[in-house]
Symmetry: C2
Subunit: 397 residues, 2 copies
């Protein structure tokens, strides 16, 4: 929580207050994290990977919390994936040792990465060009350490990386060897799987992700390069992959919390969604079919990921304080600090009668985006009104 | 900047670093604020209001910074508008005294508001129902202070508030008097003006906002209620209002920074946009016409406000390090920490040749949303590479 510098005036209790003991007493909007759902989601994927002999390297970009990371890894050292170097530094300073920074490395990040390796953190980075390999090698020499890098593979045209058939693949591997950089392996991410919504299509996407990754590794091995790790992953493919032959590592992040986009993809039920935004009714417009709440896009994020799905959830799906869904009640509109609740268009449901002061919970479209709008998680257990803990989130780059 | 708790290990310089002395040396992504443009934008609206004898009450929901607030109000006491009670507490503890909390009051916020009034802050709140008036009066008695409230008027169906013709208007005013709450006046916001894009339509929206506000005030006065303040405002109407007869106060927030949505509305040029996100090229995909940068939606926000406008700017418009626009180069796609730059579809422009490590600046769709993704402003002056200061932002509720 933020602490404001005082300017010699007395504002009784006007600064940040003590954590509330109960959900009902929390100032709103506030982010809730259901510990039971979190633990169930963590166990679901870790047991699935354990059964296949694949290492799970959770992506901490969603939770950005040491408390959640330790829940996923009681060992407290990893392996984890991070999306920023600030995350790498934060988790390193809390004891984590084995990390992959899953963003293409640039000159300024290479130098910062080497400082972490110098401090004993096994931080691996991504490259997909000979230029990055050469630059990374120079950063390693300047930092007095040996860098370790994955070659990023493009399995579905989603973003960066080389296709498995790209002749540059072997060239990048050779450039890494030439530059004195250790080849950690190859890494790919089936980002396009987020746009799917049937089990069959997800199984196909997962098999494609596996096949492309293994083909890329085979190409490198055939060229005489060691490729110890074959890393794949996206939450949808991680849960639908039937065969992971040749894959050594799985990465996923949003599976810890899940959200309405993942529900639309078909990876979870609304009962699996572990985070929600607590809000308070601040007005009603029955003539318009509106209920106004104090959670706008600042608390929910501007993410409209479900707009492209079969069921558009607006800015979120509305539950009562206990987590029970109000049928077809969504956040239809959002301004900075106002949300407008309305019945989904086309539904015959009646608007519930919620008076000013009533507390509700909103399930988010995209857990990564919604959680990032908040300072901390108010940790609760299903069917329990107590706020058991407040887990801070880190942010920044 | 965040400070991580150390765990007895040596991570040389791995924590947050000293502020960079130059823009070119900043770790990316980073938020830049052009002080010259900020001052020009502030002066433009304050002189416009001074010429009309209307008090300007800047909305601090966009900047959320004491340094920016003092730039707008060298007096350091107000008047200002705030969107959360955390903002009210933050600005109060930095010396501001005259504030309006422009969100409908609820039981838990009424109590917190009274603590600020007890501390000597003239914090006014919004109501639009007799229930809120009664609740607010009770909170005032419990807190040993006299609350002050605006009645929220709906001038364009945008959100909350009563229409000027609503018989409840006088009932709410009577309920305030009955509850011992001071009527500060009436307040309205032409939120629908954000969806306009021609000067004529903006002039009409501004006149409607004025006329509705004055009509509501006249209704209250005719019923024997004092209505000292007639408060209107939205950045588009504030800049296009030709006649403000009967209006005593103007509120606006995004005008300080402006953004691509305001450019699409026609209130500013791209040269007026005072904030931008500094990013670094981390990859290229010439075969796809893509340049990958390290600014995704975490740095830019998920706001796609220009998608509904005549020119869709994607997730932002791209400039070089000096602020010069690359013709038709936009952030076409964004994932959490990756942005994909591409030429706007339909344009004949060629993709610029930007190598890995090149720094660019991205103009945001929505300044309120983009700024909220960052911890601080790196303050620069036009055509100067020096980072003159770092101004922290507050957040939370």
């Amino acid at each position: 929580m933020q602490r404001w510098e005082m300017r010699g005036m007395d504002i009784q209790n006007a600064g940040p207050r003590e954590p509330a003991a109960t959900v009902g007493a929390l100032a709103t909007p506030a982010l809730l994290l259901d510990k039971d759902r979190l633990d169930r989601n963590l166990a679901r994927l870790s047991s699935r990977m354990a059964a296949r002999g694949v290492v799970l390297r959770p992506h901490m970009k969603t939770a950005k919390s040491i408390d959640v990371a330790r829940r996923a890894h009681p060992s407290g050292v990893g392996p984890i994936t991070v999306s920023t170097l600030a995350e790498a530094e934060y988790f390193a300073q809390h004891g984590f040792r084995d990390m992959t920074y899953a963003v293409g490395v640039a000159p300024h990040t290479a130098e910062r990465t080497m400082r972490l390796r110098k401090a004993g953190i096994d931080l691996k980075v991504l490259v997909d060009s000979p230029e990055q390999a050469t630059m990374l090698g120079a950063a390693g020499r300047a930092g007095g350490v040996t860098p370790s890098a994955f070659i990023e593979i493009d399995c579905d045209g989603h973003r960066g990386g080389l296709t498995a058939a790209d002749p540059k693949l072997v060239a990048v591997s050779a450039a890494l060897a030439e530059a004195g950089v250790k080849l950690a392996g190859i890494l790919t991410h089936a980002g396009e799987s987020y746009s799917l919504c049937t089990p069959d299509a997800l199984v196909v996407a997962a098999e494609n992700e596996r096949a492309v990754a293994v083909a890329a590794a085979d190409t490198l091995r055939a060229a005489g390069h060691e490729c110890p790790v074959v890393s794949v992953g996206a939450t949808p493919t991680a849960h639908f992959a039937e065969d992971l032959t040749g894959v050594t590592e799985m990465r996923a992040g949003v599976y810890m919390f899940f959200d309405l986009v993942m529900h639309g993809v078909g990876v979870c039920t609304t009962d699996d969604i572990a985070i929600s935004v607590l809000a308070t009714v601040i007005g009603t417009k029955p003539e318009k079919g509106w209920i106004l709440v104090d959670a706008g896009w600042m608390a929910l994020s501007r993410d409209r990921g479900t707009a492209a799905q079969r069921i558009d959830q607006g800015y979120g799906l509305v539950c009562d304080l206990s987590g029970k869904l109000y049928p077809d009640l969504i956040v239809a509109q959002a301004s900075q600090e106002h949300g407008i609740l309305a019945i989904r268009s086309g539904s015959a449901q009646a608007l519930p009668d919620l008076s000013i002061g009533t507390k509700i919970r909103i399930l988010p479209n995209h857990a990564c985006a919604t959680a990032s709008q908040h300072e901390l998680y108010n940790v609760v257990s299903a069917g329990n009104d107590a706020v058991e803990a407040q887990w801070p989130r880190m942010r920044g780059w």
